[in-house]
Symmetry: C2
Subunit: 344 residues, 2 copies
Amino acid sequence: METLADRVLAGQRYALARTLTLIENDAPEGLATLASLFPHTGRAHLIGVTGAPGTGKSSLVNRLAHYYRHPPEGQPRRVAIVAVDPSSPFTGGAILGDRIRMRDLSGDPGVFIRSMASRGALGGLARTTANVVQALDAAGFDIIFIETVGAGQAEVDIARLAHTTLVVEAPGLGDDVQAIKAGILEIADILVVNKADRPGADATVRALTEMLKMAHPTQETIMHHGRRMVINAGQKTQKKEEHPSWVPPVLKTVAVDNRGIHELAQAIARHRAYLEETGEWHVRDRVRLQSELENMLGEALMQHWRAHTAAEHYQSVLEEVFSRRLAPTEAVDRLLAQSLPPAA
Amino acid sequence: METLADRVLAGQRYALARTLTLIENDAPEGLATLASLFPHTGRAHLIGVTGAPGTGKSSLVNRLAHYYRHPPEGQPRRVAIVAVDPSSPFTGGAILGDRIRMRDLSGDPGVFIRSMASRGALGGLARTTANVVQALDAAGFDIIFIETVGAGQAEVDIARLAHTTLVVEAPGLGDDVQAIKAGILEIADILVVNKADRPGADATVRALTEMLKMAHPTQETIMHHGRRMVINAGQKTQKKEEHPSWVPPVLKTVAVDNRGIHELAQAIARHRAYLEETGEWHVRDRVRLQSELENMLGEALMQHWRAHTAAEHYQSVLEEVFSRRLAPTEAVDRLLAQSLPPAA
């Protein structure tokens, strides 16, 4: 009998949509389908797009998607867009942007769009996004955009999923010391000043270029950036002296007028070539998989602990914490003492 | 002999600063001191302040801090400010804003300021912030501001620490459909339109008021908001029919000119009275403590698992995942099979 995974691999849109819904709901059938799809992953180019609200990220992604569907040369690429909105934990805030987007790209069978909003699950959005991206990868999409709203830790975590991360800015946001953060620059592979027809675009480009110099002053710092990718792995990225380091370019676009999109696509292609030549593509893939695995492991450990701890015992410990008789650290020790096997 | 905790409780600033550093570094001495301080917590009013970059949150917090130090009536309150910057995972981005802030409030022994930047630890910033806030609470600060940059999931998680959450907007950011998100409105107890001398302030107030109506259309929805606070607890907030629900007010301020600060402080006082009268103060306290405890529990479980798993075994499973022969879900099953006690 044909399984859901078979139908996803055969390119059936409805089967894919259903799989994504099952994944989002953490349904066992969704996770089983994902396990069957997993051997077929690892081919897509994952492109993260992040930046503050108002920078026009969605328009930019739409134009890039359109570009890859109708490239000036070569075959059209299949494109998926995952729009992640961590600031909508309780309502479907991503849906509004989605509807606007649908007008541009709907009806093209080579485009698949999915909006995701956190449902309040702590840390859950990054994992669900990773799973959705895996399913789209297995379904044969060549390019998968992972677009996030905002630029906080959640966005950084989600950007780690990507091979190539675009950080989008816009003129006029830069007049506040907090508007452009060094931290978010450090995850950028390509910087985009969108809405570049607005006053102050060149000043924003200059400010970003200056901040990039501060963020990446030397080869050493760039290698530090590379090392950051494998912090979880406890590994070290080998210095590859034979390859020049990637210096993030700063590009101007006016997405609504389709200006600068071709140049941006070229920069993305250069970054992909860089990743492949240096072996960084492989490194990022491994870091991503390990990080996903460890998130799942943490959740599984917590579930197992819950299943083996009496609810009354937990509640009584909680009450002691609530009344300030027991510190949380002490509570953890007491809760784990009964449910863990003795140290070897 | 006098311990570090004793000296913190005696109001010694240097001991407090040292304790916070130990906590931030996850040093055993810091966690032990925190355990000693814990019985003295639970008195401070925790005020979360969040909003997009450029809204002037820091100035607003400075003015409020100054107000509480020099109130028009009553005793001065001791004020602590914890500035959290989740978008600076790798560099000390918070330091710049901190320096500006110091000019206004430095030299006042009744004010304590601490900047915190994530150091790339997934989920670690919320826990460390919670610990820092506990130490400040025990040290006798009456009001603790927890100010976050940005408005993503990390900020929402940090805002959950607070009794009262201010969401700050500014005119001119609202021309983008993504600029004001329904999700972030749902965590707001008080909405502030800062920089209200700029064009479009009234339009922003109207837009926020409209969005609030959408976010809180009925009593039912507001109770849903209340329920969200105890999702982790698996408890239900009892409907308290005798108390009217809190409807978040929308206030205009011009922090740099000190305008609207008195009215904002009055709204904060009303919210505190509301929390105490309805018992919500107590509920939020419990939800916060339980959430902190469960974060620590998850980390402890992961540490324990690591300590009882052979590194070679883990590495061989990882390699199978990297080569796509084993799906992450299957890898989790295999990794846990050896290290967990059999199910009861």
